[in-house]
Amino acid sequence: MGSREWTLVILAVILILGQVFMDLAIPDYMSRITDAYLLEDHDTVIQYGIEMIVCAFLSLILSLAVGFILANFAARLGMKIRAAQFDRVQEFSAQDLNRFSIASLITRSTNDVTQIQNFVARGLQVVIKSPILAVWAVSKIHGSSIEWTMVVVGALLALVIVMVVSLRLAIPKFMNIQWLTDAVNRSTRENLEGMRIIRAYDAEEFQESKFKTSNDNLLENNIKAVKYMAFTWPFAQAAMNFVTLGIYWAGAAIIFNAPTAVEQKLLFSDMIVFTSYATMVLSSVIVFIGIFRMLPRALVSMRRVREVVRTEPSVIGGTETEGTEKGTVEFRNVSFTYPGAKRPVLEDISFRAEKGSTFAIIGSTGSGKTTAVNLIERFYDVSSGQVLVDGRDVREYDLAALRRKLGYVPQSAIIFSGSVEMNVNYGYGSESRTQDDIRRALRVAQAESFVEALPEGSQSHISQHGRNISGGQKQRVSIARAVCRDPEIYLLDDTFSALDYRTDRELRNALKEETAGSTVIIVAQRIGTIMDADEILVLDNGREVGRGRHRDLLRTCPEYYDIARSQLTEEELL
């Protein structure tokens, strides 16, 4: 909370004090008006009446002002929390994201914050106002009859006991709500992402039954919470009623026991006033306790949000922005184990790619190729060893500066909803790039012809996950994105496998022409894609089993030969 927020809160407290003053004056006027009736003094009635309206009006104005300030405060707080949380998640590495799961992070970013915001908006006023009102009202009836006081105290005790017991039971249920909402979010998201497979396998009902589980868990939990809380409010109402009744009942005896008629009259008037203040005390206590109904859920939300905000990103940037060389990538005895995994994905890998060269990584499924690329991008940090870009350990770089050097194309294309152009001219420096740059990128990525055929060319809308274009088209848009930023080093993670061979080849040729001078790190399945690389690293189960040029590897590396043989004809192997 900044100084602005504090000012708002303090202002609200002052206004609430004023409002409480007015609210308490109103029953005073009511009793005075009643008294005036008893004396049949009609001028006084009118005078008090007008004063009371003024009071009520001032109270209205003040309460509207308080409402405005607090609504604003709550919404502002919500906005700040959302922003703080979003900024933090932005810094998260893939590992951090997986730890929370995307579904949960989404709930935390919206639903949880809404819970907090609603609690503050509705609760803050009550939390400030009720105690003031209660104490003030108590001071007004202080020193009244013991019997009457006992009635109020008894009712208060009963109220507190019932509330505490109910809340005790209900709080764990309220606390579950957010986690169960995560589960609902997760199954919805899963269903949306797997739409085609689900339809192809006629698994709609299967998915819906999974959804039903999370949906029904949420229901069951909420029903319990509702059950525990059901009688609290009616009980509070009943308590108020019984207090009035009790005061009258006890009052009858007290009044009749008074010796003179005048004293009896005074006591009667006292009783009326006492009743209205007692009701006021009780109702502010009830409202105050009622707010606790919202508190558990808000507290859990708060905790969940705090958990995110307080998580230090596992990958933290350094300060350096430039390396000591240009366009080089080097691995020095790099090993990497995913957190929680038994065996390392990469073990003792060393290589060096020079500026302008093409360095390829090939190997069987699950051999650690993607991991190697992820380490260069610093999506993860090495478990041991060093990864150097431009002669400097990647951990020393400012993250943005490091990534600015790299043109990363992931294995499965990531497409955002928006225009083709927005997807291609993406990220840092996008505003300084021209239409020519975008066109060049599309041309190099062999995407020009299909983009031109779209109804609005590069302004055409692509939907989230690129649902309305083909796999190969997505991949080419994704490649164009890398080309567009003209990086020092390309990181192509099995980028070509969704492309046909001709497009693959044309793309690589175009890339070579356009990007002379750029270093290319390329992961591939196809021998054809990498056979003229300057150096090829062959991985098997995370270990290097061969390194060199195509021709040499055919002779020296049996794993490489196997891969080659599965793709090429006998003559080509020679």
Binding site: I197, A200, I255, I563
Partner: protein, 611 residues
Amino acid sequence: MSEPKGGKLAPGKSDSRKGGPPWSRADKPRNFRQAVVQLTGYVGVYRYWIMLGITLSTVGAVLSIIGPQYLKEISDEIFDGIGTGTTDTSAIVSLALITMAIYVVSFILMGTEHYIIPAASERIANLLRRDLAHKINRLPMNYFDNSSNGDIMSRLTNDADTIGEMFGHSVSMFVTAAVLFFGCIVMMFYTCPILAVITVLPALGGFVIMRIIISRTHRYFVRQSRNLGAMNGLVEESYYGQQIVHAYGDEDNVRRRFSEINRDLYDSAYKSRFISGSMPQLMNFVGNLGYVAVCIVGSMLVMQEQITYGVIVAFIVYVRMFNTPLLQLSDALASMQSMAAASERVFDLLEAPSLDDESGKDTEVGEIKGEVEFRDISFSYIEGNEIIHHFSFTVEPGQKIAIVGPTGAGKTTVVNLLMRFYEVDSGDILIDGISVRDLRRDQVHSMFAMVQQDVWLFEGTVRENLMFNRPSVSDEKMIQACKAVGIHDFIVSLPEGYDTVISDSAGLSSGQKQQLTIARAIIHDAPMVIFDEATSSVDTRTEKLIQKATEDLTRGKTSFIIAHRLTTIRDCDKIVVMRNGRIEEVGTHDELLARGGVYFGLYNSQFENCA
């Protein structure tokens, strides 16, 4: 039959974030009576629960009107006793006991109601979520071309929650308050019409003002719901694309877009909150106004001796009693405003045109022989941008068909049409001579085992992912399939073997995911097979292995294989070469090579670098 195309886009629709097509109603203030009617009509059996709750609370409310009457009598008894020197409290005691009984009954009724109504509301929210989830699976594919996952998720959680919290509560409060309100009015008019008019007038004035406020401000509530959806959308997308956001340094831009939505949300949130919060205050004031008016006018009437002093005392009680329903009504209306906004979004999705109901289609299919005929089909995803043109082709039973062609030639689209993910614009597809239109979608789907380009695994164990929708498959068969695609050893090496939970992206490489999805298809033994780029991320040695496994799978079955690695399709019975949505060539590998056409070029492009 043409219904699924209802959602087809006109070219020129672009930014969906601005509100997308079907739900982008303008900020028009929609009457929330409509929302209540819609929901009431929707909630079926729970309607009766709500009604029961309302009845209970109405009775409770009536009792709470009667209660103060007895209190008044008690106070009258006391007042009358003053100065008479009596000490007889027996009349007071019996009155007190009656009052007590009334309060106890009212407490029980209210307590029951406080369970029934919220429980029914929770069930309604549950029902809405269930139906929304159901609906998602019944929407035509093209609906999703223009929606964001996060926004849809927001409807299932945020909006359904709001309805759950508000619906029963506000409706029952509204009805109770209305009963109290009219009850008070009746009693007031019965006691003294002039004073009644004076009390009711400010209340009516208050309502008029409230109505005006509500109709003027409904848009803030709609906007709040929508902003929340947009925020969910942006958050979902940027978390999903985090790697790219990072790699391309787009954090500032994402943050800026986030701030914009966040600011909008702030704006609509505080305005709608302020409005909801201020209505009870306004009605409170109206109540006080009524009180003073009664006092002043009453005292004038007394002076003119038109009424007795007792009438005023009674009225003071009524006016205070009158305050409660006024506050409740205003509170109920405020809740209904949020609820109406949320229900608009929920019903927009629920009422979006679904796929046709096909339960009436009862074409019997016997054993599938596997003859597939594409008869002159044309198709466009976006109107005016046809991408499959007059595609005709017949597949004999048991043939293995490869579909090849450059990226974007329409290969996946043909498969999408065959699976009826989309419906053809013209032409027809026949399986064993039966038009797929005469079959139910699930009949068509069950004819094919399919492996798709996008790998999809859900959070669950390896076993659950493999068995997917077929829990009856034996372990033996599952393990056999995994061995066949060469993933068994890997699975066994996982901490919990087949019971290891696969989460968001932990530990599995894309190739391994593809292997799992192929194993899934093998397990789901179906009469025909579709492989759409099934092995693109698998290394070529594993691919060979998979090929052998799929040979067994596809023996004697009609199968469609889309592949870029042409080596894998050499021995297909027929190779269909597509380009720009048309068939360029058809033939066996040898025939096509001999012809020296498109295929020849494609095939040789694989090896050009070797030269």
